[in-house]
């Protein structure tokens, strides 16, 4: 048997808040290493084009809330044509088009797509950095030869984005900031440091993304372009505007290295390859146990936990069997992983012998570990843990969607006064709903839907053949729910049938004013 790598695989990138921050805080600035070439990738319409509800045939805008109103973030072509621009107030946009389709920004899907493209870019170079929700940077100097030059790389990136139907702008420059600023102005590539000053100089201040206040100060002095800023005396610039902005100017020109690191967050995976085909569950469970032990060691070392993991059974010549296990929250509890693994192993039906067993975790998240006693043997589980374990195991056996709790809802209509809840651990504070159903006599068992009681005349006789009305209770009149389109208007009574069961019945005020059975008291 050979052990394979216990590797970290980089799946996603984390946005460093702005390119300026990391550099300005880093203690030692290094003189810039001249041989770099950065490509900035700008996906200007990503919030529109990646939106799940986007239909290019409609006049559409994506909006974001801002100070009590909504503002247009991106408008599609049709919208632009009728004068709906970026930054327009939504009410104005509506005034321009009554058929306007308004989408709320969907940051999750935006980010997912940006990350996916960034991940693909890693085929070209390891240095990939996400800058903003619509921009990322890659450094390609070292890859130029391998991929056949800048044009080919740009072409490849372009194709990649087009796969996602995204509009893209690309621009290359010897420094990361310059590339970014140039692409924001849709400028041409700049290949050499020498040409940077001239090309950056003409860019308007807007491309720097500096705070509006700073830009306003500069504009109020009649300064319009980056070139205007470069002409100012350095000491005065620091006094008037601030050191960090001067540094950014320097870095854009390659005075300092702007080493924007691609900081990954992680998920872990580990594979164990067998020498030959294995069918024995005992072997699988032992190997699984080892993998889990290894995993937990790594998790503890990093103070992180995981909330899900996949067990991957690899077969020869056919697709792997993947079993996903979800936990109630991120943990690094070895016992828990193991028990769930063994439960699953018992039930899984493998289509073929296994050649390798892999454990692949979901996103690692920071967890605060509980205090442990020095000797952990014989420590009893906290009740909350016990319940969590039980739920996880039940779900493991019956499927996640078949195990649920009940939650009360504050609502007068009985049929909507409770609901199934998948979140079993949310403790119901002794809610008004609960105390309400205790004071108001409500049956524990409510029928899934009310059953018409046939043959009962409109005025329910107090002594009917099959049931008598208990006059002590009722009527309870419920008229509610008009706002949801399911208005009810009923008088509830309690009745006793000839089997001695207490019934909860009501007279519907609508339509034929029929009687219905809604529940049975225990």
């Amino acid at each position: 048997m050979t052990r394979s790598i216990n590797s970290l695989s980089l799946l996603t990138g984390e946005t460093s808040s702005s390119p300026s921050d990391s550099a300005s805080q880093s203690p030692g600035w290094r003189k810039f290493h001249k041989n770099q070439l950065w490509i900035a990738v700008l996906l200007p319409n990503i919030s529109l084009e990646s939106h799940p509800d986007y239909d290019p045939n409609e006049i559409t805008v994506v909006v974001e809330p801002e100070e009590g109103h909504h503002r247009v973030v991106v408008a599609n072509k049709d919208a632009l044509e009728i004068g709906i621009n970026r930054d327009l107030k939504l009410s104005t946009a509506y005034a321009l088009s009554s058929t306007l389709r308004v989408l709320k920004r969907y940051p999750d899907s935006e980010r997912a797509i940006l990350e996916a493209i960034a991940r693909r870019a890693r085929k070209i170079t390891p240095v990939v950095s996400l800058v903003s929700p619509q921009e990322f940077l890659i450094e390609v100097q070292g890859s130029l030869k391998l991929f056949g030059g800048l044009r080919a790389i740009k072409k490849a990136l372009q194709t990649e984005c087009e796969c996602y139907r995204l509009t893209v702008s690309l621009c290359a420059a010897p420094t990361a900031l310059a590339a970014l600023w140039l692409v924001r102005h849709r400028s041409e590539d700049v290949r050499t440091i020498k040409k940077l000053v001239g090309n950056l100089g003409v860019l308007p201040l807007k491309v720097t993304g500096w705070p509006e206040r700073t830009q306003l100060t500069l504009r109020s002095m009649g300064l319009q372009t980056i070139g205007d800023c470069l002409r100012l005396p350095r000491d005065g610039f620091i006094r008037c505007i601030g050191r960090e902005y001067l540094l950014q100017l320097d870095r854009s020109l390659g005075e300092y290295d702007s080493s924007l690191e691609f900081r990954p967050s992680q998920s872990l995976s580990s594979t164990f390859e067998f020498m030959d085909e294995v069918t024995d569950p005992a072997v699988l469970s032992r190997v699984g146990e080892n993998l889990i032990q290894e995993l937990v060691k790594v998790l503890r070392k990093r103070q992180v936990g995981v909330a899900s993991f996949d067990i991957v059974f690899q077969h020869l010549h056919r697709l792997a069997t993947v079993e996903r296990i979800n936990l109630l929250g991120p943990t690094q509890d070895q016992e828990r992983f193991l028990r769930l693994f063994l439960d699953r192993l018992e039930r899984v039906i493998l289509p073929a012998p296994v050649v390798a067993l892999a454990l692949r975790t979901g996103q690692a998240e920071v967890v605060v570990a509980r205090n442990m006693t020095l000797f952990s043997n014989g420590v009893r589980l906290q009740p909350i843990d016990a319940i969590e374990n039980l739920i996880e195991r039940l779900r493991g056996r019956f499927g996640a969607t078949h195990v649920f709790g009940i939650s009360f809802i504050e609502e007068h209509r009985p049929e909507v006064a409770w609901s199934k809840s998948l979140d079993l651990l949310v403790r119901q504070n002794k809610s008004a709903a609960l105390s309400f159903s205790l004071t108001h006599q409500r049956p524990l068992w409510l029928l899934p839907s009310p059953i018409p009681v046939p043959g009962v005349p409109n005025d329910f006789p107090h002594c009917h053949r099959q049931a008598i009305l208990l006059s002590k209770f009722g009527p309870e009149r419920i008229e509610a729910g008009w706002w949801s389109g399911k208005k009810v208007s009923r008088d509830y009574y309690m009745a006793l049938n000839n089997k001695g069961q207490r019934l909860w019945i009501y007279k519907d005020h609508y339509g034929a004013q029929n009687w219905y059975l809604h529940g049975i008291f225990s």
Partner: protein
């Protein structure tokens, strides 16, 4: 036959709880045959007057009461049985309301003991499902013999159970038990609205309100049969026992005006006569004409018969105080233009100009209180208000309330939120209500907001919004209506805190006060009075001569000539767009023409179609005829066209046989008609019938009635117009003869009037005033007058005109400049110790250019300017000199506009004229030379946009270019299709047709263009551009 009195009923004056108007509740209760209805809003009597007015015509007893939740969660209803217990209830409410912030109240059992313990109020206990016996015992002990347990059975499934418990409790305590309904709405159909109000009150969407909504719609006024089924008979009968113990109506309320105004030993009548006689000697030093003396005798007799002396004395006292403090003031209103008021100094309107009869204002038959509004300088009104509070104490004086009601926009916002609509959509719909008629939400607007009018939620929204519009939302303070009484005011009407600190308001608004015949004095603020006083001060400062309003030469033809040219920017009342358009046609020649001008150009007369007949008759284009000599007497002054409210009322009396009281009802109905529609039909029939009977034609009757309808709320009483016209004349005189002082005073009184400083400065320049820019050495905070080369006054702009400069900053500059000369900007900043914001405001506005050269350099220098620390104060580290270009002329103009609101340089359009000419856009001065009907293309900066409700969808826009102003008329069709441009453009281009009527020129727009982007190119225009 069952009889019942409802003792627990809330109206919508229990804000966001009750879902019916008080009038609706009373009317419905009467329909159902209730014996009595108690209006018991929570800690409030705000709705009782309306209910009282409604109950007058119906056979139902109205009981006054209020619901309370005390600090220990004890809930009770307190009912007033007589005037004394009503006073106690009112004081109890005042105590609860005064002890905490506006909108809430706090009362505990001690308060209840203190206020209600010794009065004869009846108390209903509202127990919980598990009654607190301790509370019951306390109630019984304190209010022995006048406590009931109120049983409220609302079909919640446990009625019988609860009734059993409550009966047992009542028996244990030995108090009677009575039925009540906890009524929140007059019909059960209001449940949706009631639920919505609850959601609005709790600020959560309906679907999350849960059990805080009522489970059913039983909180309505139930029919007697339903009640008989729900309650045991004895409980229903008990309600009548309570109702019979009550013998109180709001009609009993009377209050006396303060007595202390009369010196000891004098009678009211004698004192007023004495003061009037003093006034006669002051006004007519050579002796008053006999006619005046007869009039005075007549008026004094009438005043004394109606016991209104204290009212006149109160107003006199307030006016005297203001005069003592040199606060300009002027009375107006029905009684203000009497000779007595002229003698008392309440008004300056000389009776000789007018033809008033006192009866028109104080009528014996109507028994309606006189109405005097006194306008004070708007910036010094607070001094007068505080004087009143001090003199009469807060227990005896308070401001009247104004009921703030739901309008379409606020209703859409609140209902939309309750229904859980997206904020985006609510906003869009609410905002699209701008410039709509306010009462209806059209389908078009709904679609425009991206909502589907067919969806159930939207249907609910529209239904609820239309039901909610007009519902009171909260009480606010009236602009200045004071109620002052001899005895404690809080025993007359509850007093509560206003949102403004130091203000207290009563719970009734002005209509309520009028309904009950209570007197109020209106202490109002008027900007023009501030400006006039300032003008006089400036004239005094410059020439050293004292001037006052009555010193000015009257009926000066030069002044009227200026007015006739519509050269009236800044002049009180006649500076509006509509007034200016009318002046050249009307060409006022005397004071009374101004009175007519002020009253005529109002939405009422415009809608009533009175303007053109009047003009035609004045121009002699139409014969002046009167249907009868009686009518001639009423309408002669206005050439047969009714213009004033008084004339309409008089017409109703003379031509249709109304009694003065009925005519007054007609006036009220006119006001109400505008507010909520309906209610006039009755009068229409009566008016037409009356006129036909008296031999007038149906056509005449129709015309008069349509004029009455047009009048509505906007009709202007002659007495008000007379007072205003005086201020029109005074301000016009100042503009004509002392323009520098006048515009200087206007600039110092901003914000007021129609125009911004930019237009005022332009107008001043046009009148030949030299305008001097803001200067750190010369300018005070206010604008001032300086001597120009010809020793005439020039206007030095004050520091206040610099946008963003604080008052404290201004003071620092003035203090520092007396000590030293400033060397440079750094020195200036150091000496004045101004903060960054003030410095920046000064620099950006170009005020410091004398110290620093251009603004860009100055901004560079002040950016990041650090306060020198003492250690390094003397060390100046030289810094590199920045390569900053000087701002272009265009850039300077843009900055002037941004930081001053105007420019003393060239007009921006002058710089752009080259581009505009290339686009074939003409100057506005050229347009006036075109013939009527010619096509033209013009553009200008938008100065005002107005859409008067009287103008049937027409929007009036005034634009300005370097040659002057131009008025545009935009019909609804154009406005609708080009709404965005109309609302959004700063530089508006218009293609249209010239419309000329005499000297009045308009352009009627066919198509609008937004040229605002041209302004962006302004900074690029170089200084030498021509």
């Amino acid at each position: 036959m069952l009889r019942y009195a409802e003792l627990h009923c809330l109206s919508n004056f229990s804000f966001l709880r009750g879902a019916s108007h008080p009038e609706e509740q009373v009317k419905r209760a009467a329909e159902l045959g209730y014996e009595a209805l108690a209006l018991t809003d929570e800690c409030s009597l705000a709705g009782v007057v309306r209910a009282h007015a409604a109950s007058r015509k119906l056979s139902i007893q109205l009981i006054i009461g209020s619901e309370f939740k005390l600090a220990n969660d004890l809930r009770i209803i307190v009912l007033a049985t007589d005037r004394e217990s009503y006073g106690a209830l009112s004081a109890f409410i005042s105590c609860g309301r005064r002890s905490t912030d506006k909108g809430s109240y706090y009362l505990n059992t001690n308060d209840a003991m203190k206020y209600l313990g010794s009065s004869d109020n009846l108390i209903l206990w509202l127990p919980t499902e598990k009654p607190n016996l301790k509370q019951g015992k306390w109630l019984k002990e304190c209010f022995s013999g006048r406590v009931w347990l109120a049983a409220e059975l609302l079909v919640n499934g446990r009625d019988q159970h609860l009734l059993k418990i409550w009966t047992k409790t009542a028996n244990t305590l030995g108090i009677p038990i009575v039925a009540s309904g906890n009524v929140h709405m007059h019909r059960r159909e209001r449940q949706m609205l009631q639920d919505t109000l609850t959601a609005i009150r709790l600020k959560i969407p309906l679907e999350k309100v849960g059990f805080r909504l009522y489970p059913n719609a039983e909180h309505y006024l139930r029919s007697l049969e339903t009640l008989a089924r729900s309650y045991p008979e004895s409980l229903l009968k008990e309600t009548l026992v309570i109702a019979e113990r009550i013998d109180f109506s709001l009609d009993e309320l009377r209050y006396e005006y303060p007595h202390e105004l009369v010196p000891v030993g004098e009678t009211l009548t004698g004192h007023l006569r004495g003061l009037t006689e003093d006034g006669v000697r002051w006004r007519w030093p050579q002796g008053a004409p006999g006619k005046v003396l007869t009039l005075i005798e007549h008026e004094l007799k009438l005043i004394s018969e109606l016991n209104y002396e204290p009212y006149f004395l109160t107003v006199h006292d307030i006016v005297q105080f203001a005069r003592g403090k040199k606060i300009l003031c002027q009375g107006r209103g029905s009684a203000a233009n009497s000779v007595v008021c002229y003698c008392l100094g309440i008004t300056e309107v000389d009776p000789k100009h007018m033809d008033f009869l006192m009866e028109r204002f104080i009528s014996k038959e109507r028994n309606q209180p006189p109405d005097i509004d006194v306008d004070f300088e708007h910036e010094r009104r607070e001094e007068v208000i505080q004087y009143i509070y001090e003199k009469y104490s807060r227990e005896r004086a308070a401001l009247a309330a104004t009921v703030i009601s739901y309008k379409s926009r606020s209703a859409i916002r609140d209902v939309g939120k309750a229904l859980g609509l997206e904020n985006i959509q609510i906003d869009a719909l609410a905002k699209s209500m701008q410039w709509s008629d306010g009462c209806q939400v059209g389908w078009e607007r709904v679609r425009e907001a991206g909502l589907d009018p067919d969806s159930p939620t939207v249907r609910h929204l529209l239904f609820l919004v239309s039901a909610l519009i007009g519902f009171p939302r909260h009480l606010s303070q009236h602009v200045g209506g004071f109620v002052i009484s001899q005895s404690k005011l809080n025993e007359l009407v509850p007093i509560e805190n206003a949102a403004m600190s130091n203000r207290t308001v009563i719970q009734w608004d002005k209509n309520d006060l009028e309904e009950l015949g209570l007197l109020k004095v209106d202490i109002l603020g008027l900007g023009i009075l501030s400006a006039i006083r300032r003008s006089f001060d400036l004239i005094h400062g410059f020439y050293g001569r004292e001037t006052s309003m009555d010193d000015l030469p009257t009926e000066d033809p030069v002044v009227y000539e200026m007015i006739s040219r519509a050269d009236t920017i800044g002049v009180f009342q006649i500076e509006s767009r509509a007034q200016m358009a009318m002046l050249p046609r009307l060409r006022p020649r005397c004071y009374y023409d101004l009175v007519i001008e002020v009253a005529l150009i109002r939405p009422g007369p415009i809608q009533g179609n009175m303007v053109h007949p009047y003009l035609r008759r004045r121009d002699g284009k139409e014969p002046i005829t009167y249907p009868s000599s009686q009518i001639e007497e009423i309408l002669r002054r206005t050439l047969g066209v009714p213009i004033f409210q008084e004339q309409v009322m008089k017409l109703a009396v003379v031509a249709a046989g109304f009694t003065p009281g009925e005519a007054d009802q007609l006036r009220r109905a006119m006001t109400a008609w505008r507010r909520c529609g309906g209610g006039l039909d009755l009068f229409e029939k009566r008016l037409t019938k009356g006129m036909l009977e008296r031999g007038y034609t149906g056509k005449f009757a129709d015309r008069i009635f349509s004029q009455i309808k047009g009048f509505g709320e906007y009709g202007f009483p002659e007495s008000h117009a007379a007072s205003f016209a005086l201020l029109v004349y005074v301000s016009a005189w100042l503009k004509c003869y002392e323009p520098a002082a006048f515009f200087c005073a206007l600039l110092n009184s901003q914000p007021m009037g129609f125009y911004a400083p930019a237009q005022l400065i332009r107008a001043a320049k046009k009148d030949g005033v030299e305008i001097r820019r803001v200067d750190i050495y010369e300018s005070n905070w206010d604008s001032t007058l300086e001597s120009d080369a010809h020793s005439k006054p020039a206007l030095r702009l004050g520091l206040r005109i610099v946008k963003g400069l604080s008052v404290a900053g201004g003071e620092k500059i003035i203090a520092a400049r007396y000590k030293c000369q400033f060397v440079d900007l750094q020195d200036f900043a150091g000496q004045t110790k101004l903060d960054d914001k003030d410095l920046k405001a000064l620099v950006s506005s170009g005020t410091l250019e004398s110290l620093t050269g251009n603004r860009y350099r100055a901004l560079w220098e002040i950016a990041g300017l650090q306060k020198p620390t003492s250690l390094f104060a003397q060390i100046h580290v030289p810094e590199g000199i920045p390569l900053l270009k000087a701002p272009t002329e265009g850039q300077s103009i843009v900055m002037d506009y941004r930081h001053l609101g105007f420019t003393l340089g060239r007009h921006p359009l002058e710089l752009l004229r080259g581009s505009l000419l290339a686009m074939h856009i003409e100057q506005s001065s050229k347009v006036t030379e075109l013939r009527h009907g010619a096509l033209t293309y013009v553009a200008g900066l938008v100065i005002t946009r107005q859409r008067p409700s009287s103008a049937a969808g027409v929007t009036f826009v005034t634009i300005e270019d370097e040659t002057g102003y131009l008025n545009l008329v935009i019909w609804e069709r154009v406005a609708k299709s080009q709404r965005t441009i109309l609302l959004g453009a700063t530089l508006l281009g218009v293609r249209g047709r010239v419309q000329k009527e005499g000297n009045v020129v308009h352009v009627v727009a066919h198509k609008l263009y937004d040229h605002s982007t041209l302004l962006d190119s302004l900074p690029a225009q170089s200084r030498d551009f021509h």
